[in-house]
């Protein structure tokens, strides 16, 4: 009892000291009241439909600065991030090699009917929200990875609320999820290489992952479709990443929801009962 009072008092005093130091002593340094120069630069350039100045060569044509940076200004970096995630899933598939579909010999009963019915209703809403995050990635905060993570929640819900075997019942095997994920990766590769193919065919200089025209390259992805801003490569990269990430997570969660005995039997290790 005495011990907990000492802990409580010391916690409260640490909070007070930190609050006092940061508020009145200014130990974090002065807070700038102005936007930083770099931030101003990005805000001015990411969406710049003004074609009269040479600044147009620096724009990504997306009002969402984060997506513009992630998929245009440092697009190759994001490409490698996606590759790292891809390699992680490949490693998981290697460990669980040979398991392509989850058999549903026994059916788990899952949680109570209350949880199951509410979850059944939530899943279509989840799909709607994930797609909305993906297709607005170039307009509002969000994007392919966030949308993919939102969609992958469905696989966790299915495994926990219904049963780890419900994937097989729904016709969503591991091989199908891997195929859909690979389609997403192919989409990213296609968008990356399209400017190059265009460059070879048309005989002009282009760059990998090029989105908007550069000083020495006239190539531009369609920025508008029927009057709607689609920001060139950004919408396609977001959609492809959405597919790759969501089904990548699906594969992982499906594998993790398998019973240890099943896995060991497949792999031929241990007694596996």
């Amino acid at each position: 009892m005495r011990r907990s009072y000492i802990v409580l008092i010391s916690l409260i005093s640490v909070i007070f000291v930190l609050a006092y130091l940061t508020t009145y002593m200014g130990i974090l340094g002065p807070i700038s009241s102005d936007t930083r120069y770099l931030a101003k630069l990005f805000l001015a350039l990411t969406y710049n439909p003004d074609t009269s100045t040479s600044l147009r060569y620096l724009t990504a044509m997306s009002p969402e600065a984060v997506t513009a940076i992630v998929w245009d200004y440092r697009g190759i970096d994001t490409f490698y991030e996606t590759t790292v995630f891809f390699m992680a899933i490949v490693s998981a598939l290697t460990i669980y090699r040979g398991i392509t579909n989850i058999e549903s010999k026994t059916q788990g009963s899952g949680l109570s009917i209350i949880v199951r019915v509410v979850t059944k209703l939530l899943i279509p809403m989840n799909i709607a929200i994930a797609v909305s995050i993906a297709v607005h990635g170039h307009l509002t905060p969000g994007g392919g990875f966030q949308a993919g993570a939102a969609l992958a929640v469905i696989s966790v819900l299915l495994a926990v609320v219904f049963s780890g075997y419900s994937f097989g019942k729904l016709g969503m095997g591991i091989s199908k999820a891997v195929a859909l994920r690979s389609m997403g990766l192919l989409g990213i590769a296609t968008v990356t290489l399209l400017p190059l193919i265009y460059g070879i065919v048309a005989g002009v200089q282009t760059y990998l992952m090029q989105n908007y025209m550069k000083v020495d390259s006239p190539f531009t992805f369609p920025i508008y479709a029927w009057g709607q801003l689609i920001s060139g490569t950004l919408i396609w990269l977001n959609l492809a990443e959405f597919l790759a990430v969501s089904f990548g997570f699906f594969v992982i969660f499906m594998l993790l929801s398998l019973r240890e005995e099943t896995v060991k039997k497949y792999l031929g290790v241990g007694d596996g009962h």
Binding site: L121, P124, A128, G227
Partner: protein, 165 residues
């Protein structure tokens, strides 16, 4: 064909509300995802589409929502407020069996959530084989099935049956 309409409407409305936009872009993508999602999900959600598309049942649902959010919630809150404010704290807590008569899973779940969401009563478990809720009740006026049904479940189940049964 009609079977796919209710889920498509649900997905479309959620998409539009979440996106917060009625631009042609969102209407087109919202419709596409509504069609695709409905084809995938309808068979798990809809057994009888004539019920889901019935205008009368929809108005019953709206009137239930109105009853629930005003009358039922007010009554339940008033009871609990009286308990909190009285000086001798008159509680008589018990977990009671409440038999339900509904057979449709949506009625069962909506009734259970209505009970849980009003203060003073919480559905702690359900036994579908015997059609029983186990409800924690802050002031159990009686333990026999007739009393618990009448006091806890009847106002919700009677109205919800007009929506889902």
């Amino acid at each position: 064909m009609r079977k796919y309409v209710p889920v498509a409407i649900l997905i479309f409305v959620v998409y539009i509300v979440f996106s917060g936009s009625l631009s042609p872009y969102d209407i087109v993508i919202g419709s596409l995802i509504a069609i695709a999602g409905s084809i995938l999900a309808s068979k798990y959600l809809i057994k009888d589409e004539s019920k889901a598309l019935s205008i009368r049942r929809f108005f019953n649902l709206v009137s239930y929502a109105f009853y629930y959010l005003t009358v039922a919630e007010f009554k339940a809150h008033w009871t609990v407020i009286r308990i909190i404010l009285s000086k001798d704290m008159p509680v008589k807590p018990a977990i009671v069996r409440v038999p339900y008569k509904a057979s449709n899973s949506y009625t069962i779940v909506a009734s259970a959530n209505s009970i849980t969401n009003t203060p003073g009563t919480v559905v702690v478990d359900i036994e579908p084989q015997r059609s029983l809720y186990y409800v924690h009740w802050i002031y159990a006026v009686g333990l026999d099935p007739e009393t618990t049904y009448k006091e806890i479940l009847e106002p919700f189940e009677r109205r919800l049956s007009k929506v889902f049964e």
